[in-house]
C-alpha cells in the first residue's frame, strides 16, 4: 500500500500537469499579435499564372482618435497586397512580411474582380474551404472591375468597406435568403453541376472625395466562370421566382396611375413535369400577400373597381418580372433557378439521361407562371386623395 502522503503528492502533481498541458498554450491568440482580416479580394493579375491578392485588415483603434469622422480612412484599415499563384502562397508572403499573424476567422467577404471571375474561380476557393480557420458562411461577392478597389473604398457610411458590404448583404438577406450567397451555397450549386450559381455583384463609384459601393445585380456563373449579369430588375424576378420573400416592393405604373405594393409574404411553388415530347414544363405558382404602399393617380377609377384593379396590375407586374428574368436566363442558357435539380429530385431515373443534354433541355423549357395576389391591407388611408366616391 502506498503511503497516503505519496498519494496526495501524486494527485497534486497530476492536477498540475493537467492544468499546464490541457490549457493548450500552443494555441494562444493574443489580440496584439493578430491582424483581423475583414475582407479578401482576388483579382486578375498581369501575370497569367498568378493573381492579385488584397487583404483588408481592421486596425484596432485607439480611443483618442475618436474625435470625429474627419480622420482619413487609412487610420482604420490596412491593405496588404501581393501577387501569387495560390492563396496559400499569398498568405505565407503576407505573414512573412508583417509583424502580426493574419487571422481569417472573422473574414466577412470574399471579393472577386469581374475579370478573374470570368476566368473561373474554382481553383481559388479551395483554401477557404480547407483551412480550419475559415468558415463556409463567408459571403461571396463579385466586384465590377477590380476587387481591391472595393476594399480600398472610402465610404461615408462605414469605415471598413468589408464590414459595410457584409452588412448590406445581410440586410438584403432579410428580404430573401437568395440575396446572400455564402461559400456553402455557391459550392452547393456548383456541385449540382447543372445549376448556374449567382453571386451579388457590386460596383464602386466615385462620389466627390469618397466612394460609393452599390449592389448592381447578380453575376451569373456557368460552372465556375462568370458569363453575364442580371440587372437589379432582373434580380427581383429571380428572387421572386425562388420564393420565400419576406419583404420587398412591387412598383407598377399604368397610364391611369402609379402604385407601389409592399410584399408581406411571397411564396412560389415549383412544379416540374416531363412533357409528352420529352421536354420539361415548369409551373410556378406564386402566392403573395401585398399591402398598398403608395398610390397616385387612378382618379378615373371608382373605389369599388380600384382594389380588383390593383390586384390585377400587381399580379401582372410580378409575372412580367419573373418571365423577364427567365428570358434572360434562357438567353444565357444558365439554369440559375436550379430547375435541373428539381427535375432530379422528382424524376431521379429519367434525370440520368437528361443530365448531359440539360443545356438544350433548359433552353426549351416551357415556363408557366401563375400569380395569385391578396391585398388585405391598404395602409392608414383607404383611398388616394381625389378619388370618386359613388
Amino acid at each position: 500500500m502506498i503511503p497516503r502522503r505519496f498519494r496526495l503528492l501524486a494527485v497534486f502533481l497530476l492536477s498540475l500537469l493537467l492544468m499546464i498541458f490541457l490549457s493548450g498554450c500552443w494555441d494562444e491568440h493574443e489580440l496584439h499579435t493578430l491582424f483581423i482580416v475583414t475582407g479578401v479580394a482576388l483579382d486578375e493579375s498581369d501575370d497569367p499564372e498568378k493573381m492579385d491578392i488584397t487583404v483588408q485588415i481592421a486596425k484596432s483603434q485607439s480611443k483618442s482618435s475618436r474625435s470625429g469622422d474627419t480622420e482619413p480612412q487609412e487610420n482604420y484599415i490596412i491593405l496588404l497586397k501581393n501577387k501569387s499563384g495560390t492563396m496559400m502562397e499569398g498568405l505565407m508572403e503576407f505573414n512573412r512580411d508583417s509583424s502580426r499573424t493574419l487571422m481569417l476567422n472573422h473574414n466577412q467577404v470574399l471579393l472577386f474582380g469581374s475579370s478573374l471571375a470570368k476566368q473561373g474561380i474554382k481553383d481559388h476557393i479551395d483554401l477557404f474551404m480547407r483551412d480550419q480557420d475559415s468558415r463556409m458562411e463567408v459571403l461571396m461577392i463579385v466586384v465590377d472591375g477590380r476587387g481591391e478597389e472595393a476594399l480600398a473604398a472610402k465610404l461615408s457610411q462605414d469605415r471598413i468597406s468589408g464590414m459595410f458590404i457584409s452588412r448590406v448583404i445581410r440586410t438584403m438577406s432579410s428580404v430573401s435568403s437568395y440575396y446572400q450567397v455564402r461559400m456553402l451555397d455557391f459550392v452547393s450549386r456548383l456541385l449540382e453541376e447543372t445549376t448556374s450559381p449567382v453571386v451579388p455583384i457590386v460596383t464602386v463609384t466615385k462620389k466627390g472625395k469618397m466612394e460609393e459601393i452599390k449592389i448592381t445585380g447578380m453575376a451569373v456563373f456557368k460552372g465556375d466562370k462568370m458569363i453575364d449579369r442580371l440587372s437589379n430588375d432582373e434580380t427581383l424576378g429571380y428572387i421572386w421566382a425562388m420564393g420565400d420573400v419576406k419583404h420587398c416592393n412591387v412598383v407598377t405604373s399604368t397610364e391611369v396611375g402609379k402604385a407601389v405594393f409592399q410584399i408581406i409574404k411571397l411564396d412560389c411553388k415549383r412544379d416540374v413535369k416531363i412533357r409528352q415530347d420529352g421536354g420539361i414544363g415548369v409551373k410556378l405558382s406564386v402566392n403573395t400577400t401585398l399591402s398598398v404602399g403608395e398610390i397616385s393617380g387612378f382618379s378615373e377609377t371608382t373605389s369599388e373597381e380600384l382594389m380588383p384593379y390593383l390586384v390585377k396590375i400587381a399580379q401582372e407586374e410580378i409575372k412580367r418580372k419573373i418571365m423577364n428574368s427567365f428570358e434572360t436566363a434562357r438567353r444565357l442558357n444558365a439554369d440559375i433557378y436550379g430547375f435541373g435539380t428539381s427535375v432530379y429530385r422528382k424524376y431521379p431515373k429519367e434525370w440520368k439521361s437528361m443530365k448531359d443534354s440539360w443545356d438544350e433541355i433548359f433552353s426549351d423549357i416551357e415556363l408557366n407562371v401563375q400569380v395569385k395576389a391578396h391585398i388585405p391591407v391598404t395602409g392608414q388611408i383607404t383611398q388616394p386623395l381625389g378619388i370618386k366616391e359613388e
Partner: protein, 354 residues
C-alpha cells in the same frame, strides 16, 4: 474467478451502449443502409451474453474451445482490444487538433488524457460506467441545442429524391468503424459478469441503449444533410461544418466548441472503457488476481502504440481499405458467431441454465 467484482445496474449498462454508439456517430457521415447488419450484431452479442451470464469473453472462449486454443484466441483478442484503444486514442488526438488546438502537439493531449483514464480504470468498471448517463445526457442536450440552432438553415428539399443519398461515407482517417460501425460493441462481452441481469433485462437494456444510440446517429445525419445538402460528402467532419454555420444574429455564432466538447467527452468515455477492457483481458489471460498492476504498463503501451500504429496518413488509409475489413470482421462477427454455433453444438454451458 472474477477480476473486477463490481456490479453495474442495467441502466448504466444501457447508457454505456448509447455512449459507445454516440461516440462513433460523431465521426461518421454514413447512412442507414447498415441498420440491418447492426441490429443483427446486437442480437448476436445479446445471445452470447445470455448464454454465458457469468463468463467474460475470454472465459467463454476457453470454455468453448478448450483452454489452450481458447487462450490463443484470447491473446489475439487482447491485441485487438489494445489496437482499438490505440486507434481511438490517436483519433482523439487528431480530431481535437482539427477542432480545438491546431498547433498543440497531440502527444500532450493524449498523454494527459491517458493519465486521467488510467486513474479511472484503476477504480474499475463501476466508476467508468457511472459517468455514462451523464455523458449521454450532455450529448443529447448538445444535440438538441444544435438542431434548434440550425433550424433556420434547414432545407428539407435536400432529402429528395429519397434513397438516392450519397452512399455510406466515412470520415477520412477513421478506420475503426469503417467496416462494421458498431462492431466495437463486442467489447461488451468482456463485462458480462459485471452485469447481473435476467435474460429479459439484458435484452431490454442492450436494445434500449442501442436504440438511443441509433436515434442520435439518425438525428446527426439528418441534421447535416438538411443543412449541408449535396455538399455533405466533401467535408471531413460535416457536423463541425454544420455547427460552424450557426448564425443567429451577431451574438450567437461560433458554437462549434460544443462539438469539440461532445467529441472529447464521448471519446474519453469510449477510450476509458476500451482501456479497461484491454487491461481486464490481459489480466484474465494471465489469471492474475488483480488487474491494477497492469494499468500503467498497458497505458504506456497503448500510448506508444497509438503514435506508431501508422507512420503516415497514407498507410492509414491503405490499411483501412485492405487489412482492417478482414481482421475486424473476424473479431467482431466471425469469431462471436463461430463461438455461438460451437457452443450450441456442444450444448454449452453445461447444466447451468439461468
Amino acid at each position: 474467478m472474477r477480476i473486477d467484482k463490481a456490479q453495474i445496474p442495467g441502466v448504466q449498462f444501457m447508457f454505456t451502449v448509447t455512449c459507445f454508439i454516440q461516440s462513433s456517430s460523431l465521426l461518421t457521415a454514413f447512412l442507414s443502409e447498415i441498420t440491418k447488419q447492426d441490429s443483427w450484431l446486437a442480437v448476436l452479442y445479446r445471445t452470447l451474453m445470455v448464454m454465458f451470464p457469468d463468463y467474460n469473453l475470454i472465459q467463454i472462449l476457453e470454455e468453448v474451445y478448450s483452454p489452450v486454443v481458447g487462450k490463443t484466441i484470447g491473446i489475439s483478442y487482447a491485441w485487438f482490444f489494445i489496437t482499438l484503444t490505440a486507434l481511438n486514442l490517436s483519433d482523439m488526438g487528431s480530431f481535437s487538433k482539427l477542432t480545438l488546438m491546431k498547433r498543440t502537439p497531440d502527444v500532450v493531449l493524449i498523454v494527459t488524457c491517458m493519465l486521467v483514464m488510467a486513474w479511472a480504470v484503476k477504480y474499475g468498471i463501476r466508476l467508468i460506467t457511472q459517468y455514462s448517463a451523464l455523458f449521454v445526457f450532455v450529448a443529447f442536450s448538445i444535440l438538441i441545442a444544435s438542431v434548434l440552432l440550425v433550424l433556420n438553415q434547414i432545407n428539407l428539399q435536400n432529402f429528395l429524391p429519397m434513397f438516392d443519398l450519397p452512399a455510406i461515407k466515412y470520415v477520412q482517417g477513421t478506420h475503426i468503424i469503417s467496416t462494421i460501425p458498431f462492431g466495437e460493441l463486442v467489447t461488451l462481452l468482456m463485462i458480462t459478469p459485471n452485469v447481473k441481469l435476467t435474460r429479459r433485462d439484458t435484452t431490454k437494456y442492450l436494445f434500449g441503449g442501442f436504440t438511443l444510440g441509433w436515434i442520435t446517429v439518425l438525428v446527426v445525419i439528418s441534421r447535416d444533410i438538411a443543412v449541408l445538402g449535396n455538399t455533405l460528402p466533401i467535408f471531413t467532419l460535416p457536423t463541425l461544418v454544420t455547427l460552424r454555420l450557426v448564425n443567429l444574429g451577431e451574438a450567437l455564432s461560433r458554437v462549434e466548441i460544443l462539438f469539440a466538447i461532445m467529441l472529447i467527452m464521448l471519446l474519453f468515455f469510449k477510450i476509458t472503457f476500451l482501456y479497461y477492457v484491454s487491461v481486464i483481458t490481459v489480466a484474465q489471460i494471465m489469471k492474475t488476481k488483480s488487474y491494477r498492476h497492469l494499468i500503467l504498463t498497458a497505458g504506456a503501451l497503448i500510448t506508444a502504440y497509438s503514435f506508431t500504429l501508422y507512420p503516415s496518413p497514407l498507410h492509414h488509409a491503405a490499411s483501412a481499405k485492405e487489412i482492417t475489413p478482414i481482421l475486424w470482421t473476424f473479431f467482431e462477427i466471425l469469431m462471436p458467431l463461430l463461438t455461438f454455433v460451437i457452443a450450441k453444438l456442444r450444448k454449452l454451458p453445461r447444466g447451468k441454465e439461468v
